[in-house]
Amino acid sequence: MNSNGLQESTTRRQAIAGRSSGEGLPLSEPLIDLHQVVKTYESPSQPFTALRGISLQVRAGEFVAVVGKSGSGKTTLLNILAGIDRPTSGAISVAGTQLHALSESQLAEWRGRTIGLVFQFFQLLPTLTIVENVMLPMDFVEIIPAAERRPKALKLLERVGIRDQADKLPVTLSGGEQQRAAIARALANDPPLLLADEPTGNLDSATGTSVLELFANLNAEGRTIVVVTHERDVRRYIGRQVMLRDGRVADGVQPEADQLEPAEVRP
């Protein structure tokens, strides 16, 4: 690579890094901005449209729950926010980054810096210990100096209440502990946005409740969280609920005024 190319590449990386933190966004700007997003899956039988023109904004510091029946498009929406899926049409901006402009590798790097992902089945790497799983995103993104990664990982594990399990392999932990480890991993690079897909779906109700409380605490600390869930009791913790029905934001479903901020749902 010539010097110009190197400079250009470095500039692009800096651009991804700078925008992805969300720090440079004016407070009035939404952290997530979807406009008329359509997602259609091609299948051998017939195309299936999972999202049908979704427009949605989420501001920094919000805790939003995406709810709806199976097949309503909740997970697809989350995947699109995480850059896992690309929309068939429409525009998406997350933390100031136009996701459609990024390649797969740039998306991976962007995810590492900008979002923390939490899955229903925890998805910890089975051959790494809990603390190593938490350190792995730091290794990938390299914004935290190497010497500080383990202390920070341990601190995060302490934050989610499983500091004593740090050097165990995931298989030896309970489901709740694994999910807490997954949340700690999601926080590894201090991302401005947490995205969680049915984070309590594989946990008993008590454990699920404690995980939701953990999300609520994180939100209270200023973290933006979008969670896809079936959990009926989620309203106790969230700031806003977005209901999807057949790939559309359902009309008439608004958060309770005394508990939630008004959602900016575009028609």
């Binding site: 051998p44 995947n79 995480a82 896992i84 899926d85 797969e104 590798s105 991976a108 790097e109 995810r111 590492g112 810096r113 992902l117 899955f119 089945f121 998805q123 910890l124 790497l125 089975p126 051959t127 790494l128 190593e132 350190m135 792995l136 995103p137 290794d139 990938f140 993104v141 298989v171 991993r185 999601a186 590894a188 690079n189």
Partner: protein, 815 residues
Amino acid sequence: MTRLLFVKLLRDLRGAWERIVLMILALSITLVMFSGVFYTWGVTGREMARAYLSTNPASATIWLERGLNADEMAAIAVEARKQPGIIDATSRTQFTLQVQQEGGGWGPNPLQIFVAAPDDPMRIENFTVEQGSWPPAAGEILIDRSSFDLLKLEVGEAVVVQAPNGAPTSLRISGVVYDPALAPSFQEQKGHGFISAESLPVLGEPVALDALNIQVADQPGLITPSRDRDVIVATARDLVGWLQQTYGVAIREIQVPTPYAHPHQAQADSLLLGLLVFGVAGLLLSAILVATMLNGLFTQQIPQIGIMKAIGARSSRVLQLYLLMTLVIAVASTALAIVPGIFISRAFTPAILTLLGVDAESLTAPAWMYAVVIAAGLGVPLLFALASLVKTSRTTVREALDYRGVDRRGDISARFDAGLGRLRGLDRTVLMAFRNIFRRRARFLLSVGLLASAGGVFVGGMSTMAGFQASLDRERELRRWDVDVRLAGIDQVLADALTNLVADLPGVTRVEGWSTLQTSVIPPGQQFSVTRTYPDQGHGSIAVTVVPPDSSLMDPPPMLEGHWLGPNETGAIGISQGVAEDLPDIRSGDTIQLSIGGRPTNWRVVGIAESVGHGGGIFITQEGFEAATGVSQPNLLRIVTDNHDEETRTAVAQAAERTLTDAGIVVLSAASVSRSAAAGAGHMLPLILVFLGLSIAMSVVGFAGLASTMSTNVLERTREFGVMSAIGAPASTVRRLVVLEGIFIAVVSCMIAAIPALLLTAIMTGVLPMPGTFQISVSGVVIWIVVVVLGAALATLAPASQASRLTVREALAYL
């Protein structure tokens, strides 16, 4: 590569250690096979050339029409050395003796004698005296070490021999000679001996040397023998002109064998080419194996790749991880293969060199060959895994999330599956197993390719053998006689008189008088021929066969061009395919000049025949032979016996020899035709060993690959097996399902194997040193099908047991 990824790599390797070990072992086996063959190829070629050149072979031999005494020839040699382009010159002669066998009677195997003056400096066509000394005293002979077993001789004993012009006489064996320029006796079914010119009177031969051996340089003043045959021929022609002008000698022939090439160079080249073909096939197999196994390993990691991508890993990081994993496997397998490869080469090379009659000075392969093996060991796995590596590292999070161990099925596949499901009476497990083999299409193709390659090599090897055997059988079938009696050809006895002498012997049903002579093509405008004949007077020479009228022993061979000889046709010759290849300018209808019995004769080529039965060479009718040479006596009696067994043949040969000798006819040899079959088998033995060894190794690798693939399939479908157990499938059903999948893969591979088998057979049939017939070995096909199906069942037993032992909980918790 981050430290954590390195830790992950080590733990992944440890976690999958059984498959990693299997992969490393399988890779090592192919690499051992390749390196063993490769080193053997290099060392055999080097040692053969070194041994041959150590004898300082003559660039050319100029044969005089009549021999001169040793002093005269020595003086000519001295003067010849002063001629332009001549590095060295010496004079020799050679002829063939009959050897008396134990219990009396002449043995079937002749003894070729090489004669040099006692004061010959032995700089050209030298040999190593391993026991005794050169020159042997008058009445003594040194025997080539490979001839002792064939002729049943012992050092210190006397051997009774008879020279063409002499009476039976005794020579004492005074020592042992190693001459790597000669083909070993067991291959040629002919002994070799060395005497000094002082023994010629003892044998009743005139004390005369008729061959001037010369070494030729590219230019006057140089001392390195030329590698350019055209230069050698031109210099030899100039020397002949000088000899004719200065000494008035008549020249019979100039023999210029291929420079720097052992008489068995063609055989060795074919053998080495065969080795290389198999070596490359082994490497290809290794590559497919690598691709198969690593593809399995990588796809198993897809969910984890998805997670890593989801938390920020770039494709390049994932690529580094799996590249390093591949490299670890490649390094381990290469390290394991280096020493066994050397051992195999060191065991195999001497065996091949012994078959070629050559001692190895060193069995160490050149350093560059080790470098090539290491590069192949590291590079081939990386190269062939690269596509899989890149594809895996580019797996998107979405693809990883969707991953279920099954490729997306197209409409055709779906319809095919549905059609299968409608078949009545089909066992559900069989149906499932059959559908399952197509689930991972890339892996299925690689597994099938791997087994098909091994099958192709096995069936190809067996078919090559079968083709050669068929060629021998056909030759045997066409050879309708049982005994060959070779006569001196110096008595002008009519064919009828000769055949009548033998026809009434017990056990004889038919006798025909044939003739075989050595011939050479005289170029237009020349008085003598320039041949490619080697000093043993066999390799590189052209034989002319005189077919008697109304012969019932030879059917017209299949013609490639023109027509076969008409009855009593004169002035016409038919040439075999082999001769036609050596004389590319000759077509049917052309006229050529042949030297027959030292006499130039003109012939019209009427056709080119396939080389089957009766050997190759040039064929002429008895009428044509008589018209051209005036010779009516045959020099070869071909006898058909009533019982075609070896006992009858031997009895008839001995009786014929006695009868003819009693009648005053000089018999050179009388032997069963089995001798030439033994010579043919001697040429093929090295190839048989090579094919069998490599085929077995490749089969082992094929099964290792299948076992690994099935193991990957089982791991990948752990959850699925858990679900099967959860809905009530007993362990035996799961086991049967997996074993059936392996068997289906094996069956499909058998069908695909037809392609490499046909290709390899065609290639090997083309490069064989002996004529072979393209033929597919039915027994080879059957053996392979049985072996591959049983082997597949055995190879999948372990993964099948592993799958059947999984508990539902283990299966559902699997990531």
